[in-house]
């Protein structure tokens, strides 16, 4: 809040001649507790404050808590990077008309997969396919690292595990308690150059940092995958994951009351590659989320200039010259 006020004050100092076009008012944006979400939030905040004169409040949040808040309190106004697979409840909210999708914040979707470390595949090339892994479960550590309870991928993985008959092939399934331990298990295995086989989604800090190879599960089949995603699927089948929908979600009130800013939010979108590179840059330079946002803004002026409307483009142009 203080940052927004300070930034707003500086903005006023820099462009005294420009009249405040339309009063944007207060906007609350969810500040997700992981790197890519936090960076996208800060980019959004910057564009809103500097370009549209909004008064932005960042609300520290996470996937489930933001959806809960949207469901009960109709807050915050904007939730960037919502992984719908981890919060299937959102689809119900959308159906009820409480919230709506503003954009696919990852234009080519997030990636969900089963991964093994690259050093393992170099030593044993057959581990790049699921058949190879199941034929030699001890080479990957004899254990599959599964998603925590409550994530959409847990249901899908549980069904896939049944379809592949992990138990019969001697592959133990370890159900993690939280996403943090899942990521930490992958990181610690890679650091110690130990075998690892488990689920991870990307773009994420851990996938950006370590070279993992996606296991070939087979082709994607929409019907089979749809059944796999329900808990009581009678016939679990084999299907790879499609690209995961990762959305920017807004409340319907926000969309109706602040059409200009809503247009901006609708345009904010990145490719997975962009985000991965941004995360890798952040990692290399030990940058904070804010600095990573600044890096993106300074390096990709043409891209985000295309997101804002004309008056905002003018104001922002002043800042960068």
């Amino acid at each position: 809040m203080k940052k927004a006020l300070l930034a707003g004050a500086l903005c006023t100092m820099l462009a005294p001649g420009v009249a405040m076009a339309d009063e944007c008012g207060d906007v609350s944006v969810a500040d997700m507790n992981w790197a890519s979400g936090a960076i996208i939030t800060r980019i959004t905040e910057f564009l809103m404050v500097q370009g549209y004169g909004c008064d932005v409040t960042l609300v520290p949040s996470a996937t489930t808590t933001s959806v809960a808040s949207l469901a009960e309190k109709n807050e915050p106004d904007v939730v960037p990077e919502l992984w719908v697979n981890s919060a299937p409840l959102f689809l119900k909210l959308e159906a009820e008309g409480k919230a709506q999708v503003a954009a696919n914040v990852f234009s080519d979707g997030g990636v969900e997969n089963w991964w093994v470390p690259d050093y393992l595949v170099e030593a044993h090339p057959e581990l790049a396919t699921i058949e190879g892994i199941l034929a030699n479960p001890e080479l990957v550590g004899g254990r599959f690292h599964n998603c925590p309870d409550g994530w959409g991928c847990r249901t899908a993985n549980d069904n896939l595990v049944q379809a592949f008959d992990f138990e019969g092939k001697g592959m133990e399934v370890f159900n993690h308690g939280s996403g943090e331990t899942l990521a930490a298990a992958m990181a610690s295995a890679y650091e110690a150059k130990e075998p690892f086989f488990g689920y991870q989604y990307g773009p994420s800090a851990v996938l950006g940092r370590y070279n993992m190879v996606a296991v070939d599960i087979g082709p994607y089949n929409a019907d089979i995958h749809a059944c796999n995603q329900t808990a009581d699927c009678a016939t679990p089948g084999i299907s790879a994951y499609p690209s995961a929908p990762v959305l920017t979600v807004v409340t319907t009130d926000f969309a109706t009351n602040k059409p200009d800013v809503y247009e901006l939010v609708k345009n904010i979108s990145f490719t997975s590659n962009d985000v991965s590179r941004l995360l890798a840059w952040q990692e290399e330079n030990s940058a904070s989320y804010e600095e990573a946002a600044v890096y993106f803004l300074t390096q990709n002026k043409d891209t985000w200039m295309g997101w804002v409307n004309e008056s905002a483009a003018e104001k922002l142009g002043n800042l960068f010259n």
């Binding site: 943090e180 331990t181 930490a184 650091e191």
Partner: protein
């Protein structure tokens, strides 16, 4: 032109500081917003009141602006991380054998809980409660709670939680009481241990849990076992130390007058008289172990915590609340049993109850 340039110039350290390579540090938001306006303030301009009011603190980051040789705070945190990753292998060689029995105990207890049929468990637990408290009323209450948990399909989870708590609380008491006794006899040891206890109680569990995943493996039960023990052992240590120190001086004098050896004094006088405090410590240890159930489930412990997390993540408030209620019921059960056991021990040591 940074605020603290003058210190390094004055101390003659400018050469040691070195020149800043342009573009080496990521641009901050403040720098971006300051943007095209070059700062026109120069050293001769003198200090204004605004400058004094807004002086930035002499933090590592601000000093680094003036003198690139000084590490930034993020370099320090990176160094801590690298130190930990470098040191974890030798640390593992020492810690793994020490902590392996904990894994075996936890896995054994969980396997036992899983293998025993529900009615055998309820009967055995009721008998244990009777032996500890000799109170039929308490036994009927405990049996009622266990039946209730069975009826709402929470029995398996409750038994998993109960086994984990039993093992961890038993180990806490096993290690905590001797440490408390040692502390009570040695003031210097107490001075060293008390800050460690303070740290264990206040350091957020998740802070040391995630690095522990690098040390041990999240798939081993000793990870959450250690988390629970480190957090819950504190009350029993503190209260044992307090209890023994609070024994009346005159009673100790009388014991000395009778010519008791140190050992006889400890086991014959001090511990029996400190028992109320020690039992209070044990009671608190069990409560704090239960408080950690959900965090333990965040690091893949089985039990009621899993249900709570499931309820939170799926926004099924009812599931979370009922599982939480289950944890509370187990806490009440253990609290009453340990209190009754304490009352019996107290009564045995003092005037006969009518």
């Amino acid at each position: 032109m940074a605020t603290y340039d003058f210190i390094f110039d004055w101390l003659g350290l400018r050469d040691w500081c070195g020149a800043r390579e342009t573009g080496s540090a990521p641009m901050t938001m403040a720098e971006l917003l300051a943007g095209g306006k070059k700062a026109t303030a120069d050293a001769d301009a003198g200090l204004s009141l605004g400058d004094v009011w807004n002086v930035p603190p002499p933090s590592l980051d601000n000093l680094n602006e003036a003198c690139p040789a000084i590490a930034r705070t993020r370099d320090m945190t990176e160094a801590v991380e690298n130190g930990f990753i470098a040191g974890k292998d030798p640390l593992n060689v020492v810690l793994d054998p020490m902590t392996q029995p904990l894994s075996w105990l936890l896995d054994g207890a969980l396997a036992l809980a899983e293998a025993t049929p529900w009615w055998v468990t309820i009967i055995v637990l009721s008998l244990v409660v009777f032996w500890a408290s000799r109170s039929w009323r308490l036994v009927s209450r405990v049996a009622a709670i266990l039946f209730f948990l069975t009826i709402i399909d929470h029995f398996d989870f409750a038994m998993q939680t109960l086994s984990i708590i039993f093992v961890c609380a038993a180990l806490c008491v096993l290690f905590g009481v001797p440490i408390g006794i040692a502390m009570s006899r040695n003031d210097r040891l107490q001075k060293i241990i008390i800050p460690i206890l303070d740290m264990l109680q206040t350091l957020p569990t998740f802070v040391y849990l995630i690095p522990l995943i690098f040390l041990f493996s999240v798939t081993e039960s000793k990870l959450y076992g250690i988390a629970i023990i480190l957090y819950a052992i504190v009350p029993v240590i503190r209260l044992t130390d307090l209890g023994i120190r609070l024994v009346d001086r005159e009673v100790i004098e009388a014991a000395d007058a009778f010519g008791m050896t140190k050992r006889q004094k400890l086991f014959g006088v001090q511990i029996p008289l400190a028992l109320p405090n020690i039992m209070a410590g044990v009671n608190q240890t069990i409560m704090m172990a239960l408080a950690l159930v959900v965090i333990a489930s965040l690091v893949s412990a089985p039990g009621l915590g899993v249900l709570v997390l499931r309820g939170i993540r799926n926004l099924e408030l009812g599931v979370g609340l009922v599982a939480g209620l289950g944890i509370v019921l187990i806490a009440i059960m253990l609290d009453r049993v340990t209190k009754e056991a304490l009352a019996r021990v107290n009564a045995a040591n003092s005037v006969q109850r009518h």
